[in-house]
Symmetry: C2
Subunit: 328 residues, 2 copies
């Protein structure tokens, strides 16, 4: 989506804060990306240092694109945590970052001197998919982010549903057949997440690996395991099949509760085509009367970033043609 | 709630169609019930015969209260099935009744010559609890009906959430730790329902009963089993504990998805205080950071009926003070 356009008259920046990286993209009002910047957040954990990196990233994309700071109309930022979008406050991030009640929106506004919007990163990915991705025209869908963590962005009647305390979509904590039978503590990975998340898949491979069973190395990433499953490697296939079964349980339960017709899979693990394919096969085998469609994210790793850009356009007052607005 | 009021100037009727009984209540605009009528639907299954019974019930309550048909302003009816409230159509009832695409609203309007509203019975129970029961002032809550079937009425942001095809809240089909691992067909009881519903609890008792283990009879109803659990009978206690654990799983998963702070338990099994108490004890043991409150229905068996009355008042144009409106 990198474009060779002349410098835009007005632009916004989207920021995506991940577990190990921070990405910034500058875009015009169509979502065309004018410049990108990325940095590692390994060892960068405090709100002050992460916010400093965010602002640095925004300034670098502006200079990269040759656009003056005056042309920047707003920024949007997605963070991996429970976020009060009304007050612009990150209530809590996952156990990895450990933020509590960080007034991220006002910090960004003060530093960059433009209006800002902040939200949970998975919610913003749902907004991105709705705007320019796999869920255009869908008034009801669930974006399932499966990476290191597992979470959902839930869109109902054309609006993000955030829950009474901004904590909707914490599906990685669901208890399902085959998971733990006692909920995980909030400072540890959830029951579903600890099996279906990237770390969980990797750990299962390592636990079940032995030289007699497979010629593959003991240390593989989740996506490498799924690649080998696609090639028919038996142990990798077994792990893929169990992951897909868990994902099918989660999708089935969510759709029985919400009667939601579309699930969009994203995140580094969720984007792997073998997982989507195996999950669809299980749901089809169950012969559900109104089974949901399960699609892959159309925006891939850019879903969050484009959702953040859409949120920034919204606060900048640029109308959206998309079904879902990030506004509550 | 039976009152000795003088005949009201204007009134509405609420109708609740259950698996084995049909109940009608005539009420004024405050929800004060002026007359009641009930009949058995055993052997009465076709839409024509059930609708005939509904209209007969409404006429009987009018004559019982000494109110002329002209004073009846509207009727509301709750049915155990997937209901399109916009078109007044019962899309499908449970496997017991077997209705498909019945234009219930227009049938009632034609027969009774007043506007009608129709909805799923559990949705109406949620409306009732919101209007006059345990969920007054709650903008987000889930009414869990646990009787022969298991279903939920979901209220989000002050509105019933009905799903993209009117089938939200089918929580009796959820797959959880300890349930079946393959979804039930739509013409059979759901995986959770077949264990937590009244029939499921009764069947578990019968399967595990033996004369050496208990002095109680082999045939007991779910509520009788829970009564004995309260008295400390070991087999009954074990079954109560398993039922409460399943209910706690369902509540936990729903609250992780929806971040919903309140669950109201209703239905003949759900109303049993021992089940609510045991479920709360499990949730407390889990030490959740933001655990939901679990309350008993305040309206008991009248929740659906009062929700139907509220729906009738809405179509009659009588404004509601309650948070939740039955209108979509």
């Amino acid at each position: 989506m990198q474009a060779d356009l002349p410098p835009a008259a007005a632009c916004v920046a989207g920021i995506d804060v991940g577990g190990t990286s921070l990405r910034v993209a500058l875009a015009d009002e169509t979502g065309t990306i004018l410049a990108r910047w990325g940095g590692s957040t390994v060892g960068v954990r405090t709100p002050e240092s992460v916010i400093r990196m965010m602002c640095e990233g925004v300034r670098k994309t502006l200079s990269q694109a040759g656009i003056s700071a005056a042309a920047l109309k707003a920024v949007g930022a997605g963070v991996p945590g429970i976020t009060d979008t009304e007050n612009g406050m990150v209530i809590a991030t996952s156990y990895l970052m450990g933020w509590r009640n960080v007034p991220l929106r006002s910090c960004l506004e003060q530093e960059l001197n433009v209006p800002a919007a902040v939200d949970n990163d998975v919610n913003l990915a749902a907004v991105g998919e709705s705007w320019l991705g796999a869920a255009q025209q869908s008034r009801d869908f669930v974006f399932m982010a499966i990476g290191t963590g597992v979470g959902a962005g839930i869109v109902l009647d054309g609006h993000l549903y955030r829950g009474s305390c901004w904590a909707a979509g914490e599906v990685g904590y669901m208890l399902l057949p085959g998971t733990a039978v006692i909920p995980a503590r909030s400072d540890e990975p959830g029951a579903l997440e600890s099996l279906l998340g990237g770390e969980g898949i990797r750990a299962q491979w390592e636990q079940r690996w032995c030289a007699e069973k497979t010629q593959l190395p003991k240390t593989l990433s989740a996506t490498e395991i799924f690649d080998h499953a696609g090639d028919g490697e038996p142990l990798a296939r077994a792990i893929l099949c169990e992951s897909a079964t868990l994902l099918a349980y989660a999708i089935y339960d969510i759709t029985r509760i919400l009667n939601c017709p579309l699930f969009v899979l994203g995140g580094s693990v969720g984007l792997h085509p073998a997982l989507g394919e195996a999950t669809r096969a299980i749901l089809e085998k169950w012969k559900l009367r109104q089974g949901p469609r399960v699609m892959q994210s159309a925006l891939g790793a850019d879903a969050q970033l484009l959702g953040a850009i859409r949120a920034a356009l919204d606060v900048a007052g640029v109308r959206s043609q998309s079904v879902v607005s990030p506004a509550k």
